[in-house]
């Protein structure tokens, strides 16, 4: 069944959606949307480096995304405001990446496929790598769910309960880098943050507890992947952006439904 490119694309997309959705909840709760963006933009630099050194793109992106995330974490709180810092790091790593790509003489690089993803070109090996990466990110998030949640609520409260919030931040950063590295093939660098943030934000009005929000976000993300793939087939549109459009529609629908739900209580 995996010989059909559409089946491979769907399965790959679902893998990334499942890994990204619970992580995306933390991105939303911790107001890290631009952090996700910065990590994702750094992926272009990772692509360029791995093409130049002929290591696998997944590895290159993972390494660069992780070091970028660590750089931001360690620079945070040293006299530069977080949004400024992210603005500098995100755009300069994107720019350096694009410049680095143009140095790659002799290698034809289809930059568009990295910027917007190329889900329909997912091969058998890609599928395995994507699922391993996504499952690893999901496992990290679920395994550390309680301490992550507590550190997100309040670092001092976490410390008093014997949880080290710095360590939790690091775990989150690692999971984020993993998702970015696998999602680059699905939605591309420019839209990875959307896949993290939008399903979680869409799930918010319908949720009473963090766990419900994470599950709903996963359902919305999977639905968006399937919907986006079908839509791109039916009306012949770019697949990655179509997936993000579906998630965005879910966001607007759930916020429109919220007042109706509120009346019930």
């Amino acid at each position: 069944m995996f010989d059909d490119f559409l089946v491979r694309a769907t399965v790959a997309g679902i893998g990334v959606a499942l890994g990204a959705a619970p992580l995306g909840c933390f991105v939303v709760w911790r107001r890290m949307a631009y952090f996700g963006d910065a990590t994702a933009h750094a992926a272009v630099l990772g692509v360029a480096l791995s093409l130049a050194t002929s290591i696998p793109v997944f590895t290159g992106v993972l390494v660069v995304a992780l070091s970028m995330a660590l750089l931001i974490t360690s620079l945070n709180g040293r006299g530069v405001a977080m949004d400024t810092l992210l603005g500098v790091v995100a755009h300069s790593s994107l720019a350096f990446g694009l410049v680095a790509v143009s140095f790659l003489n002799g290698i034809r690089v289809d930059l568009m496929s990295y910027l917007f993803g190329d889900i329909l070109a997912v091969g058998h090996v890609d599928l395995i790598v994507i699922w391993i990466g996504a499952l690893a990110a999901l496992a990290l998030t679920l395994w550390f769910w309680s301490p992550l949640l507590l550190s997100t609520l309040n670092p001092d409260l976490a410390r008093a309960a014997g949880v080290n919030p710095k360590r939790q931040e690091l775990i989150l950063t690692l999971a984020l880098a993993l998702i970015v590295a696998v999602a680059i093939k699905i939605v591309g660098v420019l839209l990875i943050a959307a896949l993290l943030v939008i399903p979680a934000a869409a799930a918010r009005p319908l949720s009473q507890t963090p766990e419900v929000m994470a599950v709903l976000a996963a359902i919305i993300a999977v639905g968006s992947v399937i919907g986006g793939l079908q839509a791109s087939l039916l009306i012949d549109t770019q697949t990655g952006p179509s997936i993000v459009c579906c998630a965005a529609i879910a966001f607007f629908l759930s916020h429109a439904v919220r007042p109706l739900l509120a009346k019930r209580f």
Partner: protein
């Protein structure tokens, strides 16, 4: 029984000395309040006791088995994070419904389990934080400006609740406040802090100590201080 021994603790934050040579202790069942102006290092002392800050010098000695309940300053929960009171109290350790109900009732807010944390009033929120600390079955309860943002009536009611809790659990209580008049009746001892321990003693003696009056500017400057304190430390940092 000695609960906490803070022994000549000094802390610098960002190169700026916040605490210098601070020593005090807390015994079982005592309510001790630390008062001091903004920036006097009150919260830093608590953070050093909780273990959130490592002192540059000196040490905090506590029995290894000490169960500690911590009530932070009013904390902000982001609107994007949906969480019920019951779920909040079950973090990171899973708690039974009965335990949660009991803690909420001890804190004076029974029946709030299914409410969203973000929908609570300031007073309810602080009592839920108190309930959270009580779930640890604490031998030492630490409160950091727990009534910030509450009006005087709300603060007074909150501290009466803390007294009730102490009476029923027989735990020691260490709290930080900048409103001595509110915490006075509840405290056994008061420590006046301004980077170092300025004076300490019963609430009445601290309230009439010249150091306290110099810091807070209340009362007459030349009033006779009933409180005799040691002159073995300097005050030139004021």
């Amino acid at each position: 029984m000695r609960m906490v021994d803070v022994n000549k603790v000094s802390v610098s934050l960002g190169g700026k000395p916040v605490l210098q040579n601070v020593s005090f202790h807390l015994d079982a069942g005592e309510i001790v309040t630390i008062v001091g102006p903004n920036g006097s290092g009150k919260s830093t002392v608590l953070r050093a006791i909780v273990g959130a800050i490592k002192p540059d010098a000196g040490q905090v000695v506590m029995p290894g088995s000490l169960r500690l309940g911590y009530v932070p300053q009013k904390l902000h929960i982001d609107q994007t994070l949906p969480i019920t009171v019951a779920r909040f109290l079950s973090l990171p350790k899973k708690r039974s419904g009965a335990k949660i109900a009991e803690a909420l009732s001890q804190a004076g807010v029974e029946g709030l389990e299914r409410q969203q944390m973000t929908s609570l009033s300031g007073g309810q929120f602080q009592r839920v934080l108190l309930a959270r600390a009580l779930l640890e079955d604490p031998q030492l309860l630490i409160l950091d400006e727990a009534t910030q943002g509450l009006d005087q009536v709300g603060s007074a009611a909150f501290y009466r609740q803390v007294e009730d809790v102490r009476a029923s659990l027989n735990c020691a209580v260490l709290m930080v406040s900048h409103e001595l008049h509110v915490v006075m009746s509840a405290s056994d001892r008061v420590i006046c802090l301004n980077g170092h321990v300025c004076c300490h003693g019963s609430p009445e003696t601290v309230a009439s100590a010249p150091e306290y009056r110099a810091l807070f500017g209340t009362g007459t400057q030349g009033a006779l201080a009933l409180y005799r304190h040691d002159h073995d430390h300097s005050h030139e940092t004021h």
